[in-house]
């Protein structure tokens, strides 16, 4: 199996789907001649032509709304937001038109919205957001957030083939940093199944996206404690069984994400555990997240708000000692 970066894996997955299924097409700002702000669609316009790699005008509602229309007509559009942050400009089409379409009138909307998300590179308040919880709180959307190249490719394929609108969060910090073996050809990682990134028995860290790597690093050597790391991969549907199984096994859970705290995905996971695995808990469910504040630009400030390896270590050690 070839080794790829996370970025290459996304690109590869998208290319494979476009080669295989001519209803798949891409739309977004600067994805054509420029190959996208992050070069995910580099070379695509040469292979697939400008119709299937549409350099759309600067209008996110237009991009998402047009995708809805094309999707209900049997196409499988893949929208790129230039940064996840700009999805706020296409929010209405996503949460009101795409999300509610099937419930209201039985029409499938097989579209994917790619969101280059997350911070860690001085992107500042408008190029670092992690907006996943908005979409978890908008029924009718599926939401995925891969952490590895192999998952990035397989989840993208699954998102594209799914008959529902899927919000696909690709963490910018992983683009060139995460590397791993990625199978050639087409394959799918099913939506809604978490992955045990490391097995363990004394404590579980539940996370997703870039923070999975922080979780692994932080718990790699925790005075010999056996720490399980659960990579959610999919936030909607959420793999409740996997979360509860791990919580029941280890009895101690830290939930870790980069998004801001209040009403984040961590709250949902903690609430789920507090309701369904209460009897099995040997300690509080601890959240490690960004505080409720925008992501600052300047490196010392940004480091202070984004969860760091040490923050996770500390939280885990405290909970282990509980």
């Amino acid at each position: 199996m070839p080794e790829m970066t996370y970025l290459q894996a996304i690109s590869d997955g998208l290319r494979e789907e476009m080669r295989h299924d001519e209803t798949v097409f891409c739309l977004g700002e600067d994805i054509g001649a420029f190959g996208g702000a992050f070069k995910i669609t580099e070379g695509f316009i040469d292979e697939f032509g400008p119709d299937r790699v549409w350099d759309a005008p600067l209008a996110e509602n237009a991009i998402i709304g047009a995708a809805v229309g094309a999707a209900v007509e049997g196409m499988r559009p893949v929208c790129e937001m230039q940064f996840a942050d700009f999805v706020a400009c296409g929010f209405d089409q996503l949460v009101n038109v795409a999300a509610k379409m099937h419930y209201r009138q039985g029409l499938a909307v097989p579209m994917t919205v790619r969101l280059p998300s997350g911070g860690g590179f001085s992107g500042g308040p408008f190029h670092s957001q992690n907006p996943e919880a908005w979409f978890v709180q908008a029924p009718g959307l599926k939401v995925v957030a891969p952490s590895t190249p192999a998952d990035a490719k397989g989840l993208l394929a699954a998102a594209i083939r799914d008959p529902n609108p899927v919000v696909y969060l690709e963490h910018k910090h992983l683009y060139r940093r995460a590397r791993g073996e990625v199978a050639e050809g087409r394959y799918e990682i099913p939506l809604g199944r978490a992955r045990v990134a490391r097995e363990g028995s004394e404590l579980t860290v539940v996370s997703y996206g870039a923070m999975v790597h922080i979780a692994l690093e932080a718990t790699d050597d925790l005075d010999g404690a056996s720490v399980e790391v659960l990579d959610l991969r999919s936030l909607v549907p959420l793999d409740r069984e996997a979360i509860l199984a791990s919580a029941r096994k280890t009895s101690k859970v830290v939930v870790l994400h980069e998004a801001t705290r209040s009403c984040g995905v961590g709250a949902e996971v903690a609430a789920l555990i507090a309701q369904e695995a209460f009897e099995d808990l040997d300690g509080p469910v601890v959240r490690v997240t960004a505080p409720d504040c925008p992501t600052p630009f300047s490196p010392p400030l940004e480091r202070a708000v984004l969860p760091q390896v040490d923050d996770v270590r500390r939280a885990c050690l405290e909970l282990l000692a509980y």
Binding site: G65, A67, Y103, R104, Q105, K142, N164
Partner: protein
């Protein structure tokens, strides 16, 4: 089709060879009457407490939706607005299903999931509107993008109101349509008000003029003249079908009822209402066809009988099963849009030639 009555003469637009046969013209009247009768029945049911929530209709605007939707072919697609029941009827939605929809019955178009005019029958090529206006204009652009990509000679039609022209999505849609020369027809129903807000608080300049700055034709027609609307729409639809790009058609009309049944319209000058009442689109067309010898009373009677029967059917439909309330949030498969009815005689002729 009311075939018992004498047929009026066929007419055409004098230029592009777009023709309405006598039967077509009778159909236009019949659909307008059917829309009005269905909405009147809906309003009665609302007043009887059988329609939950609010009630919206298109009283006075029948010529807009009927005239424009009549120009669509079976494989064309429509995103229909809350004032446009006529368009649904033309696509083939039965009045009974509309009334069941209003009453939240299981046999309504959305099976009780949504209400009012927030529906579209996917089996008839309709994508039901959302409440946010004019979001469907962008969805229509997306439908048109699919047609364009697949090189299919098909057209998407979308309706929006004068109020919706102030919204950013209206601009995004017309701009994208202009840049890509999409096969989409924008029907702007200027009924003078957005809820209580009059035109002069919505825009400074007649929005039909925007078409030129998006790079496509904009035409303004008398929205109470069903044939004028039809010819403008047919020309736009056929231009789009031939790859000639989008058109904006502004239909000048008047909302003769309140925004919803709860609205007493005290903000509308009585004199304005009276002026428009004298120009009722159905009365005017009925006079025209009657002058041509058509027995419009017979058509009216047939429509009334049809709506009576449909209402009876609707009232006999059950409410949805509460156990299904949270079903269908996600799709398990990819049901596609089906094709709609297309009563314009052109389509029968084309089918015969094919």
């Amino acid at each position: 089709m009311a075939t018992t009555t004498a047929r009026p003469a066929a007419i055409d637009d004098g230029a592009a060879g777009i023709e309405l046969t006598g039967d077509d013209r009778i159909a236009l009247l019949r659909y307008m009457l059917l829309m009005r009768a269905t909405e009147e029945r809906g309003l009665t049911l609302y007043r009887q407490g059988k329609v939950p929530g609010s009630f919206y209709d298109g009283r006075g605007q029948e010529a807009v939706s009927v005239g424009s939707a009549f120009a669509l072919g079976p494989r064309d697609r429509a995103c229909i607005l809350h004032r446009d029941l006529g368009a649904h009827l033309i696509r083939g939605v039965r009045p009974g299903r509309v009334l069941a929809q209003m009453m939240g019955r299981a046999s309504g178009v959305t099976a009780g999931k949504d209400g009012n005019m927030h529906f579209g029958d996917r089996e008839l090529g309709c994508v039901g509107m959302v409440s946010m206006l004019p979001d469907m204009a962008l969805v229509a652009c997306g439908l048109a993008i699919a047609f364009q990509m697949r090189r299919e000679p098909r057209v998407a039609m979308t309706w929006f109101g004068d109020g919706a022209t102030a919204n950013g999505q209206c601009h995004e849609a017309m701009n994208v349509a202009g840049v890509r020369r999409l096969p989409v027809v924008f029907v702007l129903e200027n009924n003078q008000f957005a809820y209580s807000t009059p035109n002069e608080r919505e825009f400074a300049v007649d929005p039909v003029r925007r078409a030129e700055v998006y790079g496509f034709p904009g035409v303004k027609v008398d929205g109470n003249d069903v044939e004028a609307v039809f010819f403008a729409a047919a020309e736009a639809v056929e231009r789009a079908r031939r790859g000639g790009g989008p058109t904006l058609i502004e239909c000048e009309t008047m909302r003769m009822h309140g925004h919803g049944a709860h609205d007493d319209m005290r903000y509308v000058p009585r004199e304005l209402l009276e002026r428009w009442a004298a120009r009722d689109p159905i009365d005017a067309y009925e006079r025209k066809l009657r002058a041509d010898g058509v027995d419009t009373d017979a058509i009216r009677a047939a429509v009334k009988a049809e709506v009576d029967a449909e209402a009876e059917w609707a009232l006999a439909q059950p409410m949805p099963d509460p156990a299904t309330a949270a079903d269908g949030v996600f799709a398990g498969a990819d049901p596609l849009l089906g094709d709609g009815e297309a009563p314009w005689s052109r389509w029968r002729r084309e089918a015969a030639h094919a």
